[in-house]
């Protein structure tokens, strides 16, 4: 499987026809479809509880484990390529610090409203240079035995992984830090980051409204924290969009709006013309108390559902430090609460295998 994925990646990046290489024609058309009867299992950065985030291995693992969607953050390199990477700096999840040839590139830039960040910025590296780096596991309490093995992959390589799967697997790419990307990277003929992002999806045949036959064949959600980018994308594609919402203290990076503003009834009425759902941080939907228990839920889910908007909160993790005490250190109790208690429509999880297991076992129990 890994060899096939790498082969596909090599071919795709050299610009050969953008369609899946294995299966083809009839075999591909017979693939098991995307399930749409229960909340979506969204593998947040791949199966990153087990493998370094946003690598081919993490995505292949997530697909093996039954994820409905594989999720990625799309950023731009110095020479305008789109890659799967979450942070604006390379420090936390790559071995860049072990590369003396890049030592002089460490610097400080503003990222998202007077937030100064110091590190090796992805926008200061060409794709070829990034490909010499190796990914590592972000958290020290997770498995580090795969550190130093996998490279960063491109948006196109990510899409190939989904299209090469033996069943229909959706993609869930994010227009990540678009203000920062557009500030530091320029494309020919005045194209913006959002334009290149959508162009890549179209090249691979993604298009069609939510639940249309075209969408079911190639499921996709386009997500972003930046409303202006979503509006721009809506003008270029009819694929479904999702509006991400950060913590209560964070303002939107492009329109400088507060949490209260963008979760108001008026704003949801506005943004629902462009998006099919919202993706809030789960601790804003049901805030925790200072002794790590759940406080009263807000009405955000009700307000979203009343407007026909889906809710896909982030992020669900198995480790007990991320679990509020109501769940008794049991990640399945958390899934149970959010799926059956709160009633969300999709979940971004670092552990797609656990979510899958929970959904499969509780589905059996109902029979």
């Amino acid at each position: 499987v890994v060899a096939a994925v790498l082969a596909a990646a090599v071919v795709a990046s050299s610009g050969v026809a953008a369609r899946p290489l294995v299966g083809g024609g009839g075999a591909w058309a017979d693939r098991a479809p995307l399930q749409t009867s229960r909340p979506f299992n969204i593998a947040h950065r791949g199966s990153n509880g087990e493998l370094p985030e946003e690598t081919a291995a993490a995505y292949a693992r997530a697909i093996d484990e039954g994820a409905d969607f594989i999720e990625a953050d799309i950023e731009a390199t110095k020479d305008g390529h789109l890659v799967c990477f979450h942070d604006t700096t390379l420090d936390d999840v790559t071995d860049v610090a072990d590369h003396p040839e890049f030592a002089g590139r460490r610097r400080t830039l503003e990222v998202q409203w007077a937030n100064n960040v110091t590190g090796y910025f992805i926008t200061d590296f060409t794709l070829a240079e990034l490909k010499t780096l190796r990914a590592k596991q972000r958290w020290d309490f997770r498995d580090k035995s795969h550190d130093g093995i996998s490279p960063i992959i491109t948006f196109e390589e990510f899409i190939d992984i989904a299209l090469n799967a033996k069943r229909v697997v959706g993609i869930y790419p994010e227009m990540k830090n678009p203000v920062f990307m557009n500030k530091h990277v320029q494309w020919a003929d005045g194209k913006k980051y959002e334009d290149k992002f959508i162009a890549t999806l179209k090249k691979y045949g993604y298009g069609g409204k939510y639940m249309s036959p075209a969408w079911r064949a190639k499921p996709v959600f386009i997500q972003s924290f930046a409303p202006a980018s979503l509006v721009r994308a809506a003008g270029l594609t009819d694929s479904p969009l999702l509006f991400l919402i950060d913590d209560v203290t964070v303002r939107t990076e492009d329109t400088n709006q507060s949490y209260d503003e963008i979760t108001s009834g008026e704003y949801l009425d506005y943004i629902k013309k462009y998006v099919v759902g919202i993706g809030p941080w789960k601790d804003t939907v049901v805030p925790p108390t200072k002794d790590n228990r759940l406080a009263t839920p807000t009405d955000l889910v009700a307000m979203a559902h009343a407007r026909g908007l889906q809710v896909h909160p982030y992020t669900y993790r198995n480790e007990n430090k991320f679990l509020h005490f109501n769940f008794r250190q049991d990640p399945y109790a958390e899934y149970d609460y959010w799926i059956n208690g709160v009633g969300v429509d999709g979940l971004f999880t670092d552990f797609p295998a656990s979510l899958r297991r929970f959904q499969e076992w509780t589905a059996k129990k109902k029979d």
């Binding site: 007990n320 005490f325 250190q329 109790a333 297991r357 509780t362």
Partner: protein
């Protein structure tokens, strides 16, 4: 409620043994922890029995009070801190055996681990063996008890009872007083299920003469020698030893990381202990299963359900000591649920349906 009316204990799938009660959520070995465990579906509630200075049998795990009580805040006990030898090692602290039951009852229990819920600290007291038994017998379904004869060498050294009685004798007296008796799966056992556990083989042999209830021999880590007979792990897990001790016990309770050792937090090839135990017709009840990821090997992807799945379906153990009764119960109910009540009629219907499928052939 009469025993005959209570829902019986399940015996078709591995036992859910609430290790020190539901201590993942509530301070260990308290009434609240045991009540929570029963609520969550435990088959057995487990406890460690030690003795107070005046010979009362209490539910408490450590020989010292330091880790799980507020003893350090009681000025009246400040001068009782001392050092004793316990199971071949020197230990310093406030020892249970230096406090009368009345004094112990003035203390309040706290959650041992800082990463678990601290909100119940200071609310609950230490309970006695008899109080523990009452909790089980008062439940509205049949709940078994799984008490341990804990640190018997140490207890017998520091606590004396009238009439030359030993700790093991008082332990059994308490059980007999409440009507516990009967071999494994006997009628009486099914009404009042009981496993007696201990790390000390001579204590097990001793109580075998006093009560016919089933006993389980606990086995510690590979570096630890038995406290009474000073034997090594390798000796007490040998075939010869299992043949010997097998005359007195129905099962073993090993530390799970000795059954399948780990390296780099990944599972290594398993030892043959489970296979040999089963060959000697002994059950295996490993300890202890915990939800927190620091206790989970990477094979399980930080998922306690994956760990249960592996131990029950791949290794094939017969019972599990868990700090998280609720999670184990949920796992078992999802994957091997209680059979629905079947009447004779519904069974006959099923049989006739099976036959009629072949009638036209």
């Amino acid at each position: 409620m009469k025993n005959e009316e209570k829902k019986p204990i399940q015996t078709f799938r591995p036992y859910n043994i609430a290790h020190r009660g539901s201590n993942g959520e509530i301070p260990e070995e308290t009434a609240a922890a045991y009540l929570r465990a029963i609520e969550e579906g435990a088959d057995f509630i487990e406890t460690d029995i030690l003795a107070s200075k005046d010979g009362a049998l209490i539910c408490f795990h450590d020989v010292t009070l330091d880790e799980t009580t507020d003893v350090a805040r009681h000025k009246e006990f400040a001068n009782r801190r001392r050092t004793y030898e316990v199971e071949w090692f020197n230990v310093t602290g406030w020892f249970v055996v230096d406090f009368t039951l009345e004094e112990l009852k003035t203390l309040k229990v706290k959650q041992r681990y800082s990463f678990r819920d601290q909100q119940y600290n200071g609310m609950f007291s230490i309970i006695t063996f008899e109080e523990f038994i009452s909790i089980a017998l008062d439940a509205d379904r049949t709940v078994g008890i799984y008490p341990e004869i804990k640190d018997p060498v140490f207890i017998n050294k520091h606590v004396k009872w009238a009439g030359g009685k030993k700790f093991e004798d008082k332990f059994v007296d308490t059980l007999l007083k409440y009507g516990y008796k009967g071999q494994y799966l006997s009628e009486n056992w099914l009404k009042q299920p009981l496993f007696i556990q201990s790390f000390a083989p001579t204590s097990i042999v001793h109580v075998s003469k006093l009560i016919d209830s089933p006993k389980v021999f606990l086995i510690d880590d590979i570096t630890v020698r038995t406290q009474d007979t000073n034997q090594s792990y390798w000796e007490i897990t040998s075939d010869d030893y299992l043949a010997y001790i097998g005359k007195y016990i129905v099962g073993l309770g090993p530390w799970k990381d000795t059954i399948i050792p780990a390296a780099g937090n990944y599972l290594m090839p398993p030892s043959d202990l489970v296979a040999r135990a089963h060959a000697h017709n002994l059950q295996v009840h490993p300890y202890t299963y915990r939800n927190e990821n620091q206790f989970l090997h990477f094979n399980f992807h930080q998922d306690p359900y994956a760990e249960y799945d592996f131990w029950m379906n791949t290794v094939g153990v017969d019972g599990l000591f868990t700090d998280f009764t609720g999670t184990l119960y949920r796992y078992q109910e999802l994957t091997s649920p209680h059979r629905k009540d079947e009447t004779a009629n519904s069974l006959l219907l099923k049989i006739s349906q099976m036959i009629s499928a072949y009638e036209g052939l």
